[in-house]
Structure formats: C-alpha cells, structure tokens
C-alpha cells in the first residue's frame, strides 16, 4: 500500500522543521534582518510572524527546500506591511533594499552568518552592562523575557522593559552590527564572553537542575560559546571560556548526592563526571595555550583542569593551583579569586597561613555579604581549632546562603565542631 501522509503527520513535520530552523538559525535570521536597519525589535516581530505563517503554509504546501530563505522573504514582507501600517515610509525603503541580498541568499541557500556582529552590538559598551547577557539570550537565541527574567531573578515585566529599552538604544544611538577591528577585538570580545559566562552562571545556580529554565540556560550559553569559537577559532579566550564551561558542566551530576545533598569536589563520585566533556575541555585548553596569549578564562579553565587532575590521579598539585591563582590576581584583583587562593594556600602551607591571607581581605566591604568568604573563613578556623570563631563564621555563611542543599552542608559542618 502506498504510504500517504496524513494531515496530522504533515502538521507534525512542518512543526518539527520550523522548530529545527528556530533552534539552529533564529539568531542568524534576526541578524540578517536587523543588520541594515539596526531595528532588532522589528526584525524579531517580523520573524515571529513568518514562523506563524510557516506553520500555516508548510503543512498545506510542503516544507520548502530552503526554509531559512522562505522565512526571510516572508519576514521582510511582513516588516514592510507593518511599517506601512505605522506610516514609517522612510524605513520601508531600508527593508525594500534588502531584497537584493535576500535573493542572492535564497538562490545559493547561504544566509550570511552575522550572529557574531549581532552579539557585538548587544554587548556594546554603550549598552548597560547588566542587560547585555539577557539581550544576547533573547536576540540571538529567541528566549522570551519571562524565561530570562526567571533565570536572572527579576520580574518578567521589568526584564521586558529593559530589553525593549536596550533594543531602542541599538536603533536610536546607531550601534553598528560589526565585528570590531583587530586592535579593538580582544577588549570587545571579552565583553561578549562575559555576557555568555553570566548567562551560564545564572543557569549554574541551580546545580540540582530542577528548574527547567535555568537548566536550559546552561545549554543555551554552551551553544553560544561554541558559536563564538566556531566563528572566531583563533581567539584563545573564547576557547578558554568554552573549556571552563565544559569543565563545570561535566561535573554537574556529581555535585549533588541522590538525596539532593551538596557534595564538595574532593568527595565527588568521578564515575558521574562526563569524561567526554572533560576531554573536549582539555583539548580546547591545549589549543588555546598554543596561541600564546593568556587570559582570565584560560586561567580559570586551567584551574578546573588542575582540580580534576588532582582528584583523578591523587597527584598533589596545590603548588600549581596557587600559581594559577597568582596569575589570575595579576589580571584582575577580584576578591573571589583572592578567597580561593587563600584556601589553596591553606592546602599548601596549612590553615594558619590561609587564614592569615584571608584576614588581609577582611577590610573589603564587599565581603561582609559574600557567602564564600564566610564559608572559607569558617573552614579554616575550624581546622586551626578556633571552634567558637568558626561557629560564628558558619552562622553568617549559612545566613547568606540561598541554596538549601549548601545550607544543610554548612550546618552539618558547623554541628561537627567540637564544643
């Protein structure tokens, strides 16, 4: 019997195709549509209408051979209609002139990939630093304000407003869609990488992976990091960031016990580590270091690598770890790095030495509300036998912790103190 495709199957086929294009090419299509007009919001609106048309048209007429080109053509037409309705004749011209490059793109099936230029526009120094990361997630990946807001712990309405304002700024201030020139590139790239890492870190704050939106965020930011390394394979810091993220992601399953309890690195079951990801991270790091230009992300990835190596082999390498922290401190005087260095010093020269280093940081007012400082202090005090002081430090660390599993872990350490 000849196989006939039912209406339901055709619908499903069309939806799958549309979803696959959205997943793979959303940012590419937005970038193409917005590059000339710099009107990201109009590009997004037009594209979402084009996706809606696709879901209506494709089941009837079959999926087009070049779905990206199909979507762009429809989106462009939708945008022109929309602008005409709003009587923006002067911008209509800009959309009209897009037809030449669109035709070329449709004919050879190649949409020029301007996603990187789009990311550089989103992470432009003229855009407020705190909105760069959400903006990239929305514009390049198509995440909605609600999902982004929940990951960044703000209200969807407020996040939506800030995203709209940022897109307005791109358009009104004339922020260009370009990859910066060679001499400017490293500094500007750092901002893009920071924005991607911020998205990853937001996803990472849910290590149990129970919150679906956050879980997604780590995957999405890995996708972005891969995209940057694909488009800029000669930038060592981009490779370093991807290596760092893969190292962290590789240990996700081991960070919590089956009962949901926090498991510190040294006690993790290495069977649960994703060895494929670790290998990929190590390869990336090797490639990056061969380029001979060290940076923050390569160093942080190197730290992860050293920790993994130590737990894997039992080879005591705290000397090396302290050296990497020193190099990191040479780049930026982050209190976070200094705290972790003090913990490494404690491994190397004993708890007293680590505590002494930590003491030097105590004057930094940012640390009074910084949980890792108090947790580190408590650990080291406990090791030196200063139980009363350790108990007090644990109290503050527990009070500042928002993750219930880590809180329980700290409470356990606190109650294990000798009276």
């Amino acid at each position: 019997m000849a196989a006939t495709i039912s209406g339901d199957e055709r619908n499903l086929l069309a939806r799958n195709m549309a979803e696959a294009v959205a997943r793979q090419s959303y940012g590419k299509l937005v970038a193409f549509l917005a590059a000339r007009t710099r009107d990201v919001a109009a590009a997004e609106d037009a594209l979402s209408e084009a996706f809606a048309s696709a879901l209506a048209d494709w089941p009837k007429n079959g999926c087009p051979a070049n779905p990206e080109g199909w979507l762009l053509t429809v989106a462009r037409r939708k945008a022109i209609d929309m602008l005409r309705r709003r009587r923006h004749e002067e911008t209509v011209d800009e959309w009209q002139t897009m037809s030449d490059s669109l035709e070329a793109a449709e004919n050879n099936g190649q949409i020029p990939d301007q996603r990187l230029a789009l990311m550089f526009a989103c992470a432009h120094p003229a855009i407020d630093a705190s909105i760069r990361s959400p903006l990239i997630l929305q514009v390049v990946l198509g995440l909605d304000a609600k999902a982004i807001a929940s990951a960044f712990l703000t209200s969807p309405a407020a996040m939506g407003k800030r995203l709209v304002r940022a897109k307005e700024k791109i358009k009104q201030a004339g922020i260009p869609f370009v990859i910066p020139e060679k001499e400017e590139l490293p500094g500007r790239l750092d901002v893009v990488l920071d924005a991607i890492y911020a998205a990853f870190a937001e996803g990472w704050t849910d290590p149990a992976g129970t919150d679906a939106t956050r879980r997604d965020l780590t995957e999405e930011s890995l996708f972005l990091a891969r995209l940057v390394t694909d488009l800029l394979p000669q930038e060592p810091e981009a490779l370093g960031l991807l290596a760092l993220m893969l190292h962290a992601e590789a240990r996700r399953r081991a960070r919590r016990s089956e009962e949901g309890e926090f498991v510190p690195l040294a006690q993790q079951n290495i069977e649960l580590w994703d060895s494929g990801m670790i290998r990929e991270a190590e390869d990336l790091l090797k490639r990056a270091s061969a380029m001979g230009l060290l940076g923050r992300y390569q160093l942080e990835a190197a730290l992860q690598s050293a920790h993994v190596h130590r737990v894997h082999t039992g080879h005591w390498n705290w000397q090396e770890v302290v050296q990497i922290y020193d190099a990191l401190l040479g780049i930026s005087s982050s209190p976070v790095v200094a705290i972790n260095r003090a913990l490494a010093i404690a491994e190397l020269d004993g708890a007293e030495a680590g505590l002494k280093d930590l003491q030097q940081l105590a004057a930094d007012p940012r640390l009074t509300e910084y949980q890792p400082y108090w947790a580190a202090r408590a650990e080291l005090l406990a090791k030196t036998g200063a139980c009363q002081e350790a108990r007090e430090a644990y109290d503050i660390a527990i009070g500042l912790e928002s993750d219930a599993a880590v809180r329980r872990f700290l409470q356990g350490r606190q109650s294990a103190l000798k009276l």
Partner: protein, 115 residues
C-alpha cells in the same frame, strides 16, 4: 547618522591656564575641527560663553520665570558642541575620544532625533 557631541568641562580650569597653555588648547581644538572637516564629518560647532552669561526660563506653578544662571549648577559646565555626521555610534565615539575636550572634561554623545 548625526550626533551631537556635548563638551562639558570645569570652566575655572581655563582661566587658571597660562597664556601659552590657552594657546595650545586653542590650537588643539582648531586641529580637531580641521580633521573633522577634512573627513567630511563636521556639520557645525560652537563654543559657548561661560555660564555666568546664562539665563534660564522655566515654568513653576504655571508661572513662567526668567532666572539668572544655568539650568544646573555642577562642577562641569556645558562649554561647546560639535554636530557631526558619521555612519554609526562607533564612529561617533571614536571622534568623541579624539576631542581635546575628552582630555580635560567629559564628552557626551547624543544621536540626533531624525524627523
């Protein structure tokens, strides 16, 4: 796109300068203006008289008032502007960073609202 570069600086700084320093300052602005012209980016530019000459009109409680002095009293004052026409914000920022005013004060870059 057109951008207005607004130059803010502490006016007192100028009067404290020696004659030679002032001349050097002038020369730097002249050179900058010339460079903008050569690049075809300059639309117009002007230096403003000190804020002591400023007069403000504002409406309080529905009544219009004429007041002596600038809109805001601050450490730096608006002292001049350049109106430039360049392709995008990056080009505008790179001109702003070359402006002598960026060396001793603040340059605010504002896109012009195109009608």
């Amino acid at each position: 796109m057109q951008y207005l570069l607004l130059l803010y600086a502490d006016e007192a700084g100028w009067t404290k300068m020696s004659k030679a320093e002032q001349e050097q300052g002038y020369a730097a602005y002249m050179a900058y203006t010339e460079a903008l012209k050569k690049a075809g980016a300059l639309k117009s530019s002007n230096r403003l008289q000190p804020i002591a000459t400023a007069t403000t009109i504002r409406t309080t409680n529905g009544k219009q008032q004429v007041l002596d002095g600038p809109y805001v009293e601050s450490k730096e004052q608006l002292g001049g502007y350049y109106l430039i026409d360049v392709p995008d914000l990056d080009a505008a920022l790179s001109w702003a960073s070359r402006c002598p005013g960026a060396g001793h004060g603040i340059v605010e870059v504002r896109p012009i609202w195109s009608m």
